[in-house]
Symmetry: none
Subunit: 87 residues, 4 copies
Amino acid sequence: MSDDIAKAGDNLIAAERLRHIVARIERLEEEKKALGDDIKEVYAEAKGSGFDTKIIRQVIRLRKVEQADRQEQEALLDLYMQALGMA
Amino acid sequence: MSDDIAKAGDNLIAAERLRHIVARIERLEEEKKALGDDIKEVYAEAKGSGFDTKIIRQVIRLRKVEQADRQEQEALLDLYMQALGMA
Amino acid sequence: MSDDIAKAGDNLIAAERLRHIVARIERLEEEKKALGDDIKEVYAEAKGSGFDTKIIRQVIRLRKVEQADRQEQEALLDLYMQALGMA
Amino acid sequence: MSDDIAKAGDNLIAAERLRHIVARIERLEEEKKALGDDIKEVYAEAKGSGFDTKIIRQVIRLRKVEQADRQEQEALLDLYMQALGMA
DNA sequence: GATGCGCTTTAAATGC
DNA sequence: GCATTTAAAGCGCATC
């Protein structure tokens, strides 16, 4: 019997925690969406200034992969350094 | 001649503006990604506490469509009001 | 040598299957487009009868999200049932 | 007074027609969605057979514009024929 | 622990 | 030019 009471209490606590988790995620998603809107706005503004947003997107994509490449190269370098006992 | 100078100046200005636009977008995307990571972390934490993330995701999705529902109803009401010349 | 023959045969078969796939997709897309045209026609007809298509679109959108809502609720219930070992 | 009655009657009829229009559109959209699902299925099947769906999509897109080109050329030809009194 | 697969989200294209 | 529709990317999940 007291098991049931304990279980009911646990469920309440779990429900409360769930509520908290959901609230946190929703808050974060809201902020994330706001940033997405900001980005959209910048593109719209750029377009209004006569820029081709498609090309801007390409530029950004390109810079992203280049950055990834650089990081990869650095990671590889680190690995070599470690292998050579230089790090 | 002075046209060319003016054009060169414009290009410089355009390049500068482009640089600025790209920087702004990259900054915003960085923040956006950080929030995505935060969300992921909350899910991971919830999972670690024994919650079923699938249920949490479903709850959040449901709340989202309910909210959309409410907004759609209001939009529809507005339309009717306008159609009836009451807005 | 016979490997090459086999491979050539495979390529022929693959080409034939590809042709078949493309044909099927094109046929389906054609039908899909026809339906899209039908829908457009209904809207045009409604407009001709004095209806505001904007409102009709909104009504349909609303009914869609309400339906999605219902389905989400059922999905959530299922998840809960499963989580509670009742399904 | 009888104007009001007439108007109320009109509204009822309009509501009935609206219901009918919505039902027709929803039916058509349902069929359209079913075809979309069929197409997705064909792609999935193709993928299961080892084809690269991305390339298949390109093939289909290409064939579509080629077909459009052909139709355009034929239309142009018709025009010329008519202009020459040969059609 | 890695890989692949489907699904959700996000970007691009198109038509009104 | 904006909203809808369609293609692509990213992500979590399941499996091996």
